[in-house]
């Protein structure tokens, strides 16, 4: 055993001579004397039940690679999974930016030593604001679901009301996050009511909305494009109903759609939110998720953001830009339990990366990528729905995701997807338990990175499996 004599490359003062010099400086002969503050009965002296270490760098690398090689991935397989995490084009520059050691290893320090970090974060918020057509954004939420949850609590705080109306088409996972985030000690702090939807189109039932909205309604929430893929064409009317009742109109959107789809603020959304993982981030098994919120610059909105915000401000030298904390008391760093909600470390590196993505894409890139996605998704939907017994689950326009119904084939989605794996294809997300009323249905996602050949391959495979 090398035990105490091991010198660890990441622990400089594990070198025995240095350690001894430092202990001498402190006048201790036994290093555990430094832990006198911890009573003996609370000390843990048994060996930790951990595997033998893999000390050298080459071996740990091989070990990790061996484990990761056990996964299949969307480079080797053709992927049609989306449902909140989609496979998009990641420019090399984005990887270059997120891989810069200075950004990767910086933290929360303030405005001088890390000026570049502050500028990059300010630019991200500014670029996102242009995409959303709003004046204020925050990109520091854990993910899109948290962004929805916080947007709805912002609306409750602003209106002093405690009821939220959401569409029946949100995902089960979104509902789980919302239910927990709105819960309280003795029943919910904020009540969630579900509005019905049209079975054919997925669109919100406006009669149900009108019947259920009241002076208790803090917010009407819509996803556009929706979780089920469709574009909700009634958003202006929904926003109008919300406004008439003094409610906020909260819209969650897919930012990569906004080169071709109108940003929610242009059709009346007062709070826009979503997940910016499509903007230059790899899927990473869900590690690229990051949430944003955008609103007008009116103070009644700005005051309700929960996370830190930073603004451009002059320095003592004329013409020089610096950065400052905005309305710090809103945050739990400023006022602990009196804060709007809790905040903490979330996704700043991804904000910087997504900023680089928007800078690279520019207005033309965003329009083009939206168009390519829609062309490919429509081509795929047309091809799949020509297969015997297969039809699209919803009528009406969609962006990158659409429901495929297999009821006419007599086969289950789970079985079809298992067989697709033999063709090295990840089929669409199985909705049969999540949305039972839709029968044997799957949610397919097609993006700009899926080639015509891959789509044709899917259609051929499905045709063979369903024959």
């Amino acid at each position: 055993m090398r035990s105490n004599n091991t010198v660890y490359p990441y622990i400089p003062n594990s070198a025995p001579k240095t350690k001894e010099r430092m202990m001498n400086a402190l006048g201790v002969t036994e290093i555990m004397d430094l832990f006198e503050a911890i009573p003996d009965h609370l000390k843990y002296t048994a060996p930790l039940d951990l595997p033998e270490p893999i000390r050298d760098e080459y071996s740990i690398r091989r070990h990790l690679e061996t484990l990761l090689n056990r996964n299949r991935n969307c480079q080797d397989f053709i992927n049609f999974l989306g449902a909140g995490c989609a496979q998009h084009f990641v420019p090399a520059v984005c990887d270059e930016v997120s891989g810069r050691g200075e950004f990767l290893t910086a933290y929360a320090a303030e405005f001088y030593a890390d000026h570049g970090k502050w500028q990059a974060l300010f630019e991200f918020c500014s670029l996102l604001a242009e995409l959303l057509d709003v004046d204020v954004t925050s990109g520091f939420l854990y993910d899109g679901l948290q962004a929805v949850a916080t947007s709805l609590r912002m609306a409750c705080r602003m209106t002093g009301r405690n009821e939220i109306l959401i569409p029946g088409t949100v995902s089960r996972d979104a509902r789980r996050v919302l239910d927990n985030y709105m819960a309280g000690i003795q029943g919910p702090q904020f009540h969630i009511r579900t509005i019905g939807f049209d079975r054919e189109s997925g669109q919100m039932d406006l009669a149900d909305l009108s019947a259920r909205i009241s002076k208790k309604t803090a917010a009407v929430f819509v996803e556009n494009p929706s979780y089920l893929g469709f574009i909700e064409p009634q958003v202006e009317a929904i926003g109008e109903i919300a406004r008439r009742h003094g409610s906020e109109f909260v819209v969650s959107t897919d930012p990569i759609s906004l080169g071709v789809l109108a940003p929610p603020a242009q059709y009346g959304a007062t709070i826009t939110c979503g997940d910016y993982h499509p903007l230059g981030l790899h899927m990473q098994c869900g590690g690229g998720q990051s949430g944003f919120i955008g609103t007008s610059g009116e103070m009644r909105y700005v005051m309700e953001y929960k996370d830190k915000m930073y603004g451009l401000t002059p320095t003592s030298v004329a013409g020089e830009h610096g950065f400052a904390n905005i309305l710090f008391e809103r945050t739990s760093f400023g006022s602990r339990e009196k804060a709007r909600e809790f905040t903490g470390t979330s996704n700043a590196l991804w904000a910087i990366t997504a900023g680089a993505y928007l800078a690279l894409m520019g207005p033309k890139g965003m329009a083009e990528v939206g168009q390519t996605i829609m062309q490919k998704a429509q081509y795929a939907a047309a091809g799949i729905s020509r297969i015997n017994g297969v039809r699209l689950g919803l009528s009406g326009p969609f962006f990158k995701e659409f429901i495929v119904n297999f009821d006419g084939t007599g086969k289950r989605v789970a079985d079809i997807n298992r067989k697709l794996l033999d063709h090295q294809i990840f089929g669409g997300k199985d909705l049969s338990s999540e949305f039972g009323m839709m029968g044997e249905s799957a949610l397919f996602c097609v993006t700009e990175v899926i080639s015509q050949a891959s789509i044709d391959c899917l259609v051929d495979a499905l045709t063979a499996i369903l024959a």
Partner: protein, 527 residues
């Protein structure tokens, strides 16, 4: 180069590019990247693709994003990165309460490049995720050994969200026992502010205990705060002062006697890895920040992962899905009726979990203990050096050893020279060191600064850090105005107001800045 106080101070100047904002680089017509186009056959079948959008939902005016060529964008971001001092650039002894350690390059290279993680979709069939699920399962076993807890969830996207998860579990536990009258939690002022804030978000009222002369809340104060309304006790230990609450098991016992649960904030567990565990103290819940204690990098403030740990009795409340193992295959179990539901999408921040797994595998149990030993050694050594600097004091617990960090005070320096901690914080950037962390609000310790030379830093790094502080203190006594107007060798100069609350001065985005005409506000001294 000599070491110790005679060491020559570094002749440093931070990169200063006077770099434009990205919007100022826009040249109409330039492109940064070209995106895939639909193939010819797709265009023939699907047409333009966008005609299906109802007319009123089409974007009519393109977003006012800048148009910039790719070389200039790369240069822009490289310059901004040069104007940033991460751990790869400078020893980050400054940001205590949040240990800032070295993140091994080997883990970064694998995790950010291997398609077995970067190109994996979280909803893939579990048979195609066996590598990641094995790492999740094994990492859970590791953290169980390190903490003595029985189960962990890796879903929370950061430490604060892990505290929220634990508060949600607490809420579900009491509700399951018909004890929803428990609507209060107790914490301490030197516990991280996410503890009171996350509990309040979950609906709890918060009682905060203040320290006595030992720097710790008295056990009597704790007992007085407990009642049949207490749901939980949330505490960081060692607290932000570096002082370990030696009576912690008695506080936990008192809370248990009152029917409350106890949650241990171990976001920064550097002092106790392999030395002391949540289990022996009696805790019911704990959390670790894997992007901190377990070496995943901070990324300017995320991506992050807070691992939430609980005892057996609370396991059924953890978020879904749970990773299970049947002896052959790993599974995702989504069917758990008592679960609080979810706090985040999918199974959490997988890359961060992978890095933490790699780090623990490299160090093993004895290596983790060496982390704690060297962290505490380093902090005690730095403390000894810093205490020698004129103007520095250390509040509380005189004569007792702190663990991995120390909250110091420039109170005396401020009284004697007028130079306070915010001034020194700015000046320190002139020496190539990261601004130090003062303290969370409110400042219970006057003119605070909190340092943590974790295991990643060498004796030479620590000596240099102490020498810089000594030099600045000397400057404060000789020429206080000089320190007050710092920095001089940073990217930018002193910012008169670092906190802005007035609506007409708030510019969170470039368009808001332009709309408010802040670009046209005449600067003091301008004609």
């Amino acid at each position: 180069m000599q070491v110790g106080h005679k060491r020559r101070l570094r002749d440093f100047h931070q990169a200063r590019w006077d770099e434009e904002l990205i919007f100022e680089l826009s040249v109409p017509g330039e492109r940064g990247v070209l995106v895939p186009e639909a193939e010819e056959k797709i265009r023939r079948v699907a047409g333009d693709g966008i005609s299906t959008i109802p007319a009123h939902l089409r974007r009519k005016t393109p977003p006012a994003l800048p148009e910039v060529n790719q070389p200039r964008i790369v240069r822009h971001y490289t310059r901004l990165s040069q104007e940033t001092l991460g751990v790869d650039v400078t020893p980050d002894i400054s940001l205590a309460t949040c240990t800032m350690k070295y993140s091994p390059k080997v883990q970064e290279h694998v995790v950010s490049r291997h398609p077995g993680i970067t190109q994996v979709h979280p909803l893939q069939d579990e048979d195609t995720l066996q590598g990641i699920l094995e790492i999740y399962y094994q990492l859970e076993q590791f953290l169980k050994a390190i903490s003595g807890m029985d189960h962990f969830s890796f879903q929370p996207g950061g430490g604060a969200q892990a505290i929220f998860t634990n508060a949600s579990v607490m809420r579900a536990y009491h509700a399951s026992r018909g004890e929803s009258q428990r609507d209060e939690v107790i914490t301490t002022i030197f516990s991280h502010p996410a503890n009171p804030a996350a509990a309040a978000t979950a609906g709890y009222k918060v009682v905060t205990l203040m320290p006595d002369e030992r720097g710790l809340p008295s056990l009597e104060a704790m007992r007085a705060a407990l009642s049949e309304r207490t749901a939980g006790f949330l505490i960081t230990n060692p607290e932000d002062t570096g002082i370990y609450n030696f009576n912690i098991d008695k506080y936990v016992q008192a809370a248990h006697d009152a029917g409350a649960l106890c949650a241990y904030d171990q976001a920064n567990a550097n002092a106790v890895l392999g030395i002391a565990r949540a289990r022996e103290c009696g805790f019911d819940l704990c959390h670790f920040n894997l992007h901190k204690t377990f070496s995943a990098p901070h990324g300017c403030m995320g991506p992050a992962l807070g691992a939430a740990g609980v005892t057996e009795a609370l396991e059924k409340f953890l978020p879904v899905p749970r990773v299970t193992y049947d002896g052959k295959t790993y599974h995702l179990d989504d069917d758990r009726p008592h679960s609080i539901g979810r706090v985040r999408s999918f199974i959490g921040n997988v890359p961060v979990a992978l890095k933490a797994y790699a780090w623990i595998r490299q160090l093993g149990g004895e290596g983790l203990r060496e982390v704690a030993r060297c962290s505490v050694l380093n902090s005690n050594y730095l403390e000894k050096e810093v205490r020698r600097i004129p103007g520095v004091t250390v509040h509380y617990a005189e004569g007792r050893r702190r663990l991995e960090q120390v909250r110091f005070s420039w109170e005396t320096l401020k009284e004697e020279t007028g130079v306070g901690t915010e001034d020194i914080k700015r000046r320190i950037a002139d020496f190539g060191l990261q601004h130090y962390w003062t303290s969370h609000h409110p400042w219970v310790v006057p003119e605070p600064f909190t340092l943590e030379p974790c295991e990643s830093y060498s004796k030479a790094d620590i000596d240099e850090y102490a020498a810089v502080l000594a030099k600045i203190a000397q400057e404060a006594y000789n020429d206080p105005e000089f320190v007050k107007n710092a920095p001089y060798r940073s990217t930018v100069h002193k910012i008169p107001d670092q906190y802005i609350d007035e609506a007409d001065r708030i510019a969170i985005t470039w368009r808001q800045y332009l709309k408010k005409g802040l670009n046209r506000v005449p600067h003091e001294g301008d004609e």
